[in-house]
């Protein structure tokens, strides 16, 4: 499947064709592992995340009906797989599966990996998502970068082109706004 466009590859992936899965890995595997490496500890773990994801696709072809760019599809898929892998690892190590996880999939995104149905954690995540929708875009970007994408302060500063003092000031402001919105939601329930 060397000549297929990414769109054709995506469609073949949605049909569960093993050759398409291999072709995606051949074409995008280097970036998939690099992306997973943003969330897990080392390269070996990142490779495991991606191979686990391939295994899932073999069992259950991903839903791609709502996706039209392979970059969006792979970013979401690898992200969810990495977070899932972290949860499993921490659970196996006897730690609370969620105690140290800074990022979690957004249930509103129709990702290829299923998220448990309604639970207190899911309801809380939805409340956080609702509050995030109401913070200013710049605050949201910073919160997503620092907590959701697990970027360090230095990485956020570089990406946003701001000083350390500005980073801490903006992060404090964004956290305060989000916290107030959540508190307001909870007191009005």
């Amino acid at each position: 499947m060397a000549d297929e466009t990414d769109q054709e590859l995506l469609e073949a992936l949605g049909r569960g064709e093993p050759e398409a899965i291999a072709a995606v890995y051949r074409r995008h595997g280097g970036r998939m592992v690099a992306f997973a490496l943003r969330y897990v500890t080392d390269r070996s773990a990142a490779e495991d995340v991606v191979v686990d994801l391939i295994g899932r696709w073999l069992e259950r072809p991903p839903r791609i009906a709502e996706v039209n760019r392979i970059s969006a599809f792979l970013a979401t898929s690898v992200y969810h797989a990495a977070i899932d892998w972290l949860r499993r690892e921490r659970s196996e190590q006897g730690q609370s599966p969620r105690s140290q996880i800074q990022a979690a999939p957004d249930r509103r995104l129709a990702g290829p990996i299923s998220i448990p149905a309604s639970t207190p954690a899911v309801e809380l995540r939805e409340r956080i998502a609702g509050a995030l929708d109401r913070v200013p875009p710049a605050d949201r970007l910073l919160l997503e970068s620092h907590y959701g994408r697990a970027l360090s302060a230095e990485e956020c500063m570089t990406e946003l082109g701001i000083t350390r003092a500005a980073f801490h000031q903006r992060l404090h402001r964004a956290r305060t706004r989000l916290a107030r919105l959540l508190e307001l939601d909870e007191t009005s329930r």
């Binding site: 050759e19 592992v33 970059s71 957004d106 995030l132 997503e144 907590y147 916290a179 959540l182």
Partner: protein, 140 residues
């Protein structure tokens, strides 16, 4: 309620459930992520994806043989992963996903007794079609 307490509760909530990230944010990050290499494999690593389709009536026999093969394969030095994947709505198809640390480890795997046993079992009428295999090797 003091600001510190409010922020502390926010941290607890984020630690409990995580912070949702939008698809477009992830895609932006994807677009600035440099690939770690030409493939997702470390140099020399080997990934094999094999698809096996059982003849009607041979499904459980093929499954049992594949499970035994995977269990043996996992004991092989240099085996990083060996897993069996069954599509839930297609009992006749099995996907075998194997990863080895090196070409040499993969060749030793193919030369092992359990590999020959599984090959022989497949040739004894278990398959509806020849096995399909995709081979990938990590390179610099």
């Amino acid at each position: 309620m003091s600001e510190d307490l409010t922020l502390s509760r926010l941290d607890q909530r984020i630690a409990t459930t995580g912070l949702p990230v939008r698809a477009e944010t992830l895609e932006q990050l994807w677009n600035v992520t440099e690939p770690i290499g030409p493939t997702g494999l470390s140099e020399g690593e080997v990934l094999i994806l094999v698809t096996l389709r059982a003849r009607p009536g041979q499904e459980s026999r093929l499954h049992a043989a594949a499970v035994a093969f995977v269990e043996s394969s996992r004991q092989q030095p240099g085996s990083l992963a060996s897993t069996l994947h069954t599509p839930p709505h297609d009992g006749a198809t099995l996907h075998l996903l194997e990863r080895f640390a090196s070409r040499r480890a993969f060749e030793a795997h193919m030369a092992a007794d359990y590999f020959a046993v599984f090959q022989r079992e497949q040739q004894e009428g278990m398959l509806a079609a020849p096995a399909e295999a995709v081979f990938l090797q990590g390179r610099r």
